[in-house]
């Protein structure tokens, strides 16, 4: 079983200890996620057509491709949101490797709550709750009492530049501020892998850059792993590796700043 992370293992005060960049020394060679021969069809359309992919601990990976190329399906499958028709996704944890495609719905829900963090384009924040309650909710759902969850949530919001806005409701925040709340919620549980689906897609370019900086620094900057779907080549260029998809197949893997394109399926 996957071990629960009921509290952040690294205090948020230390999240900006070093800037995140395309620095390969930040991640280890051990894969945290290994996808093998993933296939997923919607009717006659193949969304994933034999995808093999390894995500290393501490690296940032951008998944790019045109609409309908299968990038969101790949992210959802890696995160246990969807089950593939065939293939496996191995997640490394302290208890060893586990194929998450074999887990039932409630076990995958638990996994998503405890081991992963998510940042989506729409934020998916609960409008009735305040900023701090939205973040604390992630801890409370994992069983932490409210009194213990609120201070941790406050710490994260402060670390992400939202000090003084804790009691504001989501409708009272700007798009960029709301996305920071979503980033705090994704990481307050101590998740080691963060999945982001177009996290800056709904923001203007200046705000998008700010949010991306916060996302990179608070994830890979702390040694965690970031898997991000994006349409934006500038956003993708901030990652260690870019995976390009077309018609459900990986067509190329590139390392920004490196002239070499890696052949699909190559080991890292």
């Amino acid at each position: 079983m996957i071990e629960a992370n009921s509290a952040p293992e690294q205090a948020p005060g230390t999240i900006f200890s070093h800037a995140a960049s395309n620095n390969p020394t930040q991640h280890s060679s051990a894969p945290v996620l290994s996808a093998r021969a993933l296939r997923r069809a919607y009717g006659s359309t193949l969304a994933l057509d034999g995808v093999d992919l390894e995500i290393l601990t501490g690296e940032s990976v951008a998944i790019m491709g045109p609409s309908g190329s299968g990038k969101s399906t790949l992210l959802h499958t890696l995160a246990g949101i969807e089950k593939p028709d065939s293939g496996s996704v191995l997640l490394a944890s302290s208890a060893g490797q586990q194929d998450i495609t074999t887990l039932g719905e409630s076990a995958r829900s638990k996994l998503r709550r405890e081991a992963f963090g998510f940042v989506f384009q729409s934020g998916l924040l609960i409008p009735e709750l305040t900023a701090v309650e939205n973040v604390a909710m992630a801890l409370m759902i994992n069983g932490l009492p409210r009194a213990a969850a609120l201070p941790q949530a406050n710490q994260w919001l402060s670390a992400l530049g939202l000090a003084g806005m804790e009691e504001r409701r989501i409708g009272q925040l700007s798009g960029g501020q709301a996305q920071r709340v979503a980033i705090a919620r994704a990481q307050v549980t101590g998740a080691k892998v963060i999945f982001a689906d177009e996290p800056t897609g709904a923001l203007d370019s200046a705000t998008g850059t700010e949010v991306l900086n916060v996302l990179m620094e608070s994830t890979v900057g702390r040694g965690n792993t970031l898997v991000m779907v994006t349409h934006d080549a500038d956003v993708a260029a901030r990652c260690d590796r870019i995976i390009s998809l077309r018609d459900g197949k990986i067509t190329s893997e590139t390392r920004p700043g490196s002239p070499n394109t890696i052949a699909p399926g190559a080991q890292h």
Binding site: S106, S109, R113, F120, P127, E128, M140, I141
Partner: protein, 442 residues
């Protein structure tokens, strides 16, 4: 003309819209059937030809006033669901260059059409229930054929339901913004102020004064008007203070909330106390009727057994008890239906959020428990509050009823509990997954 043709074009029930449309039409059907039956019941008292005929008409009028609020809330909830269920189409109209006025026109026309369809079904339901309702006895004889209304009144009720639907949807649209990119709620909802409590205190003082002077009026019609007017004002006062009281319940729950479900439920109440109140306002009034009317009826029943059997006085006491129970039942049916409709509309509003939170690993049961808590918290809080306040208002009467007519009191309390369970059933019926499945969002 363009509005009509567009409404016709957009109004075709697709698979995704069939369930909300059926739910809305069903709600209007129920409202129509209940209104027709209530009016028929009230008018049937015209057949009573003795010194108590005036009293019967007054009590029937009182029951009608008390049923206005739950029925109006049900109509308004149906209109809101109707508007929300055509979100995407309305956004498309705006994207194609349609003005907000055109969108409003389409919504109003469609709501009116759905209400008309529902009202027709309501007439059938009324006709179906009539033989059963006709068996209810007042003044020793069954209502019988007096339950049948003449077609003119039926047509007026249909017209009224269609008008209420059109007006409610028009007003309901003021609370949402239809932009080319989608439909969303206006974020700012007015917060209830404590000043309302002061206005209510003033209103109650005025009503008490009017009631204390009621014996001054010699004309029965004037007395009736003062009494019904007083009750209507009382209902208005309750609606002013209600959101504030529900807000207090929400704050108390927020303070104690330790689990995600409880925190979310409290915040859902506090998000819009006025809406939370509207859902339970019928319960406050029903509990008031149950305690005040029920205590009086129970004691009258006891006194009636001492009168000569079959005398008008003995029959009146039994009839008041019957009337109180019918009012409670009809009121709870309305509350349960409006709760179901409001919950379905709320779930549709938040379909994307629910689906997204599920992706994040938040289990449906968490959101479900929060939703149930946000409805049942105010139901129980407002219901108990209303029972306690009305009990204190008529303390000697309620106390005597409990001592001398425990069976009647037990029947009233049993009806209340059944009503609360009916509301709980309505909440369960419109579970998040069920509603999203119906519109195929899940």
């Amino acid at each position: 003309m363009r509005t009509l043709s567009l409404a016709w074009l957009l109004g075709k029930p697709t698979a995704a819209r069939r369930a909300p449309m059926l739910l809305t039409a069903g709600a209007y059907g129920l409202v129509s059937a209940l209104v027709l039956t209530t009016i028929a019941g009230a008018l049937s008292f015209n057949r009573i030809q003795n010194e108590l005929s005036g009293m019967y008409l007054m009590l029937a009028g009182l029951a009608c006033v008390l049923l206005i609020v739950p029925l109006a809330v049900l109509g308004s909830a149906a209109a809101r669901l109707s508007a929300r269920s055509q979100d995407l189409r309305l956004s498309t109209v705006r994207l194609l260059g349609g003005t907000p006025g055109l969108v409003l026109g389409i919504t109003v026309v469609e709501s009116a059409l759905v209400a008309f369809t529902g009202a027709m079904a309501g007439i059938a339901l009324y006709a179906g229930m009539a033989p059963l309702v006709g068996m209810i006895q007042f003044q020793g004889s069954a209502i019988g054929a007096a339950i049948w209304l003449n077609p003119g009144i039926i047509a007026l009720v249909v017209l009224g339901v269609v008008l209420i639907a059109a007006l409610s949807s028009g007003f309901g649209m003021r609370k949402i913004i239809v932009s080319p990119l989608g439909v969303r709620n206006r974020s700012q909802t007015p917060k209830p102020r404590w000043i309302r409590a002061l206005i209510v205190v003033g209103l109650i003082a005025g009503i008490s004064q009017a009631f204390s002077m009621i014996s001054v009026f010699k004309d029965l019609a004037v007395m009736l008007a003062v009494l019904l007017g007083g009750f209507a004002l009382g209902v208005g006062a309750l609606n002013l203070v209600g959101p504030w009281a529900v807000g207090l319940i929400g704050k108390a729950k927020l303070k104690k909330a330790e689990t995600p479900e409880k925190l979310l439920a409290a915040r859902m109440i506090l998000e819009n106390p006025a809406q939370a109140w509207r859902q339970v306002s019928g319960i406050a009034m029903t509990c008031f009727v149950a305690v005040v009317g029920g205590s009086g009826a129970a004691l009258m029943n006891m006194a009636g057994t001492e009168s000569s059997p079959g005398s008008p006085d003995a029959l009146l006491s039994a009839d008041v008890m019957t009337g109180v129970i019918i009012t409670i039942v009809v009121s709870f049916i309305s509350v349960a239906c409006s709760t179901a409709i409001t919950q379905a509309a709320t779930t549709l509003d938040r379909a994307e959020l629910y689906a997204g939170l599920n992706m994040l690993g938040v289990q449906r049961s968490t959101m479900e428990k929060a939703r149930v808590g946000s409805v049942m918290g105010p139901v129980i809080g407002v219901g108990l509050g209303s029972i306690i306040i009305s009990g204190v208002l008529v303390l000697p009467l309620a106390g005597m009823a409990m001592i001398f007519a425990p069976l009647s009191v037990a029947i009233i309390l049993g009806t209340l509990v059944a009503g609360v369970l009916a509301v709980r059933g309505a909440v369960a019926l419109t579970s998040t997954s069920q509603t999203l499945k119906l519109v195929r969002i899940d």
